[in-house]
């Protein structure tokens, strides 16, 4: 993977393909399972995938503690890359980062795609919008995350130490940014009207981490969003149905971007 320096921060970054720019903000887990999805996207886009600070082999400056910090970092990246206007796609934790970016400034963003995004709290204090991935037994967790865990879940026993260390580092960083309040920013909902960019909200029909009903509420809370589900997919439809998700993104954003 390449590296990019944004200010004082050195990140790993994957780039692929040619075409209009698409910045993909990855979820907390299962980065290694995204290869097929990135390949599909690269056929039509110049895909840019930074590894967030603290993930993979990206540095995390001591002061980076919240998703706010990631949002400002990627606003810097968008300005510096000279993309003109980019399509911004975020999955799960990456969707939350994308929302935090857009409520601050949409100037460098042409289209927004959210895939099973986190970040917003809709329910009351005793309702859990987002399943507690740290408290679920591993079997149940995988059943909630994937439509077909047998096909999509990684087998840790087969991973080498380097790959497994990356998985552990990703888990650590996800916890750092999302532990409390759990995977959301209590103040984000009141600013969603500032996401002044056409938005597609994509949801795995079988997502057991954040149910499709949450996605519908999210879409309704945004000024210009439509909602689409992906069949036979859980929390990461881009892993389980890479064709459908890449197709949905293209159908939504490509015609206008060209």
């Amino acid at each position: 993977m390449e590296r990019i320096q944004i200010g004082d921060v050195s990140l790993e970054m994957l780039t692929a393909g040619a075409g209009p720019p698409l910045l993909f903000l990855h979820p907390g887990d299962y980065f290694a399972q995204h290869r097929e999805f990135f390949d599909k996207l690269a056929r039509h886009w110049r895909v840019v995938v930074p590894r967030h600070p603290g993930f993979g082999n990206s540095e995390r400056p001591d002061g980076f503690r919240t998703v706010d910090d990631l949002a400002y970092l990627y606003l810097d990246l968008l300005e510096r890359q000279g993309f003109g206007k980019a399509t911004l796609v975020g999955s799960s934790l990456g969707g939350w980062i994308a929302l935090e970016i857009c409520v601050r400034c949409c100037a460098a963003i042409d289209r927004l795609v959210l895939i099973d995004s986190l970040g917003v709290k809709f329910g009351g204090r005793e309702e859990r919008d987002i399943a507690d991935i740290y408290a679920l037994p591993s079997d149940e967790l995988l059943r909630r995350v994937f439509f077909d865990p047998g096909r999509s879940a990684p087998d840790y026993l087969r991973l080498g130490d380097d790959e497994l260390n990356v998985v552990a580092r990703d888990r650590q960083a996800t916890a750092l940014y999302g532990w409390r309040p759990y995977m959301h920013n209590p103040r984000l909902r009141q600013w969603l009207h500032r996401v002044r960019v056409p938005t597609l909200v994509i949801w795995g029909e079988n997502d057991g981490i954040v149910a499709p009903g949450y996605g519908r509420k999210l879409a309704r809370s945004l000024p210009d969003a439509r909602f689409e589900t992906i069949r036979e997919a859980g929390h990461y439809p881009q892993i389980e149905r890479p064709d459908e998700v890449a197709g949905a993104i293209g159908g939504f954003a490509r015609a206008e971007a060209l």
Partner: protein, 388 residues
């Protein structure tokens, strides 16, 4: 050597009803307050007896568990600060990385120190992984929060000229002004439990006394060695009083009686590690390389393989026999001579230590047996141990 009696105040009546987790997720309807009250009072009676027997007192705390019903370590300390007159009182201790308010900790310890007229020893603990969930603290920041809380508490207990300002990474106060100030000057002795050479070196650098628990014959020497090396390196005076070792102790008039008592106390070791695997490896609690190996084992066992026989065999704590536990250095049991000989051999093996944290009650050992265990220990073993 000083000896301390420790019990986790287990609520063992619930144990037969528990499945694959004795912690975190178990419903409190399994706790009967009437039975619980009787248990609390008998454990307190046993500690109060220690004042007459000349055995110091140690408490601890855990959360959402039937293995340890002491969820606030300073509550028994508060009762015993008045009920006892002579022995010292150690809390090992306060999970300051998981507590939200370090100033409250400084106030609790200071007040206890004054009421007990200077008999408090204050432990600060990082906490085992399954304490994260009950506290909902961010595991990826736990260590950092621990040290900031530690610094703040000590400054709060040693500043006597009015309020000071603290705007740190995790804690914010503009008017820190703890009343009362502690009896002992500059502050009560500070302890930390450690389980690795790395933590031992941190403690040595801070001049803390370390309490080493459940590490046994194989894992204890490198921890004590690391402490001694670091203390020498930073120029801190090294005395055996900086090192404490916890052992489960069953003593009887016959070897059979002592081993039977130890067998019941081992109920602690056989249950305390039974935790649903998803709470064993919270992300960021351990360094990534260590966490990765636990992932490989499907999350099953941050603590697996941590008990070893002298010849390096892994011992399953759930099925550990007294003989296994004696071999592993976790238990000293038998007649007073047996107990002293086993302790002495361990003492020599690890290069000496200044405190024996004696689990004199654990598991199902009942009140009569606990009193007999502590009394016989104080008469027949304590005088010899004190000489070490």
């Amino acid at each position: 050597m000083k000896v301390w009696h420790f019990s986790e105040m287990a609520y063992h009546p619930a144990w037969p009803q528990l499945g694959d987790s004795y912690r975190v997720v178990i419903p409190s309807r399994l706790f009967d307050p009437k039975i619980g009250a009787d248990l609390y009072h008998r454990y307190l009676d046993e500690w109060a007896l220690c004042d007459e027997l000349g055995i110091n007192i140690m408490t601890n705390e855990h959360h959402a568990t039937a293995t340890c019903a002491d969820s606030v370590c300073t509550i028994p300390m508060a009762i015993l600060a008045r009920e006892t007159k002579k022995v010292r009182l150690l809390a090992l201790g306060m999970p300051i990385g998981n507590r939200n308010d370090p100033i409250r900790v400084a106030e609790e310890y200071s007040m206890l120190d004054v009421i007990s007229r200077g008999r408090i020893e204050m432990g600060f603990v990082k906490g085992v992984p399954f304490e994260i969930s009950p506290a909902n603290t961010n595991p990826a920041e736990l260590i950092e929060r621990f040290w900031e809380a530690h610094d703040l508490i000590l400054k709060a207990m040693t500043s006597h000229d009015g309020p000071f300002n603290w705007e740190g990474t995790h804690f914010h106060y503009r008017s820190v002004n703890v009343w009362p100030r502690p009896w002992q000057q500059p502050h009560p002795p500070v302890w930390m439990p450690v389980g690795s050479p790395g933590s031992a070196m941190e403690a040595a650098a801070h001049g803390m006394t370390i309490g080493v628990l459940n590490t046994g014959w194989v894992r204890t020497p490198p921890i004590f060695d690391a402490y001694r090396r670091k203390a020498a390196e930073v120029g801190r005076p090294m005395t055996p009083q900086r090192l404490a070792y916890m052992a489960l102790i069953g003593v009887g008039d016959t070897r059979e009686e002592g081993e039977r008592r130890a067998d019941q106390i081992l109920g602690y070791s056989r249950t305390s590690g039974i935790v649903a695997p998803q709470f064993m490896n919270p992300p960021g609690y351990a360094p990534p390389a260590q966490s990765a190996q636990v992932l490989k084992a499907s999350g099953a066992g941050f603590r697996a393989g941590r008990i070893q026989s002298r010849d390096g065999r892994n011992i399953d704590p759930r099925a550990m026999s007294v003989a296994d536990a004696i071999d592993a250095g976790l238990v000293f049991a038998g007649t007073p001579d047996d107990v002293f000989d086993q302790l002495h051999a361990f003492y020599d093996h690890v290069g000496g230590f200044g405190h024996l944290l004696m689990m004199g009650q654990g598991g199902l050992l009942d009140h009569g047996e606990t009193v007999a265990n502590l009394t016989l220990f104080s008469k027949e073993v304590l005088p010899r141990v004190t000489e070490l």
